[in-house]
Symmetry: C2
Subunit: 239 residues, 2 copies
DNA sequence: TATTGAAATATGATATATCAAATGACATAA
DNA sequence: TTATGTCATTTGATATATCATATTTCAATA
């Protein structure tokens, strides 16, 4: 949860000297963060059941923060609630996955267009590093790790656009598709499509060519989506 | 909250005969809905404080559902939480408002493109009706009512696109900007920009020209945003 | 063996209790 | 009058209690 900073008449001198008291994230926030990370990292497979009580026991908190965190994820569409009001991670069908990708395809190009003129050299170097790391993960057949790095690559670009609302929306898109993506990570096997597309993205950023960067990320997204959609629509068995 | 329907081996015959038992929305859902409607209708002015306890007293429920509903809105960015953890409705500054409009500008054209081939004649007639109602409200100087109708016009177009995820994102965009929009409704005074643009949108839909519809809605959005942004950036006093 | 059904258990939804932090009221001192 | 300190009240965060539903277990029965 993002707290707004306020305080009208704070003395800047005192503030500098003593620093600021921070009350730290609430238990709900902490549970939420852990759940979120777990969803992105594939701790739960798509469709797996979750109970607030077990979560609260596992994390050593009471029902309330566990439940609140779960509800928050439900609200973002990262968790499902059944007719009987039980919770589970989402398992996107082909249509739903395509919708997520359509939205990413609408938003990430805008983000990268805004971000392109703002990147520092260090940040560009970091993008290159990330991409090489991803290549390495793929060659080691650590596909889930490769996906993590892919998400870091994309999200750090979105960060640079400095559009907090857009960023939070893109976050929820990743979160929603996370478990499904992870389940299908085998389908990325030996594919370096992402790697080549990322190189194009980086090249465009280096030339400060925002339109080219937007086009490159669109290609990356549509080609990446095509792989997943092929699996989802074909209903192929896992690996 | 959207419940997933499931149930593997239900007998369709019995189900048809007796109908289905529905458990109705939870108290949390009901409070959430009321809050949401209130925000869109300008019950609270931007920046106004809210307490979970007062809300629970007012609505005759316990703290838990009131609090959960508030947290849900906070999560969607429709309510703020201060450093001191008190709740208030959002009051967008110019930059934030522009970000909302940038996102609407990215998403609503996509929605209308998808929707254009799907509209029935009745639905188009309804759009025309809504637009005329809006005109009437403006001429009666009922600007807040006009804004309500404007939102109904846009959201019913988005509905037709049948992209539930996109629709929910667009919803949160409206919700976030709602109080600010309502506060500035005076700035729409005697302006019929929206009315004319809506007519262009409708005409494009009637011709089943998706691209033209998208262009028309983009124009509607950018011109509408310009009015608000002029007020917000000029920091002009109310009315 | 397959089905049923009752009791035990688990679960989500909601209410209530508790506590520390924030706020407000008010009296007193400067 | 204005600033300051004290105390009562309010508030959000969290824990716990309660209740109606679901789910599971398992023995009795067909």
């Amino acid at each position: 949860m993002v707290l707004q900073t306020d305080n009208p008449k704070a003395d800047p001198a005192t503030k500098d000297l003593l620093g600021v008291v921070d009350r730290g994230p609430s238990l709900t926030d902490q549970v939420y963060e852990k759940l979120r990370r777990g969803l992105l990292m594939g701790v739960w497979s798509p469709g797996e059941k979750l109970t607030a009580r077990k979560l609260s026991r596992d994390l050593g908190v009471s029902l309330t923060p566990a439940r609140e965190a779960i509800m928050r994820l439900v609200n973002e569409g990262a968790l499902d609630v059944s007719e009987k009001r039980t919770f589970s991670t989402v398992d996107l069908n082909c249509e739903q996955y395509k919708e997520v990708m359509r939205l990413r395809g609408a938003l990430e190009p805008i983000a990268i267009e805004l971000a392109t003129p703002l990147f520092s050299e260090e940040e560009i170097t970091r993008l290159i590093d990330l991409n090489e790391q991803m290549k390495a993960m793929i060659s080691e057949e650590r596909y889930n790790d490769a996906l993590q790095i892919d998400s870091e690559f994309h999200l750090s670009i979105c960060d640079r656009a400095e559009q907090p609302l857009m960023r939070s929306i893109i976050d929820t898109l990743w979160l929603r598709a996370g478990p499904t993506r992870n389940r299908l990570s085998y389908s990325y096997r030996k594919r370096l499509i992402g790697y080549e597309n990322h190189k194009r993205i980086i090249a465009a950023i280096q030339l400060r060519d925002a339109a080219a960067a937007a086009a490159a990320i669109e290609r990356d997204l549509s080609e990446g989506a095509a792989v997943i959609v092929a699996v989802l629509s074909g209903d192929q068995p896992d690996s």
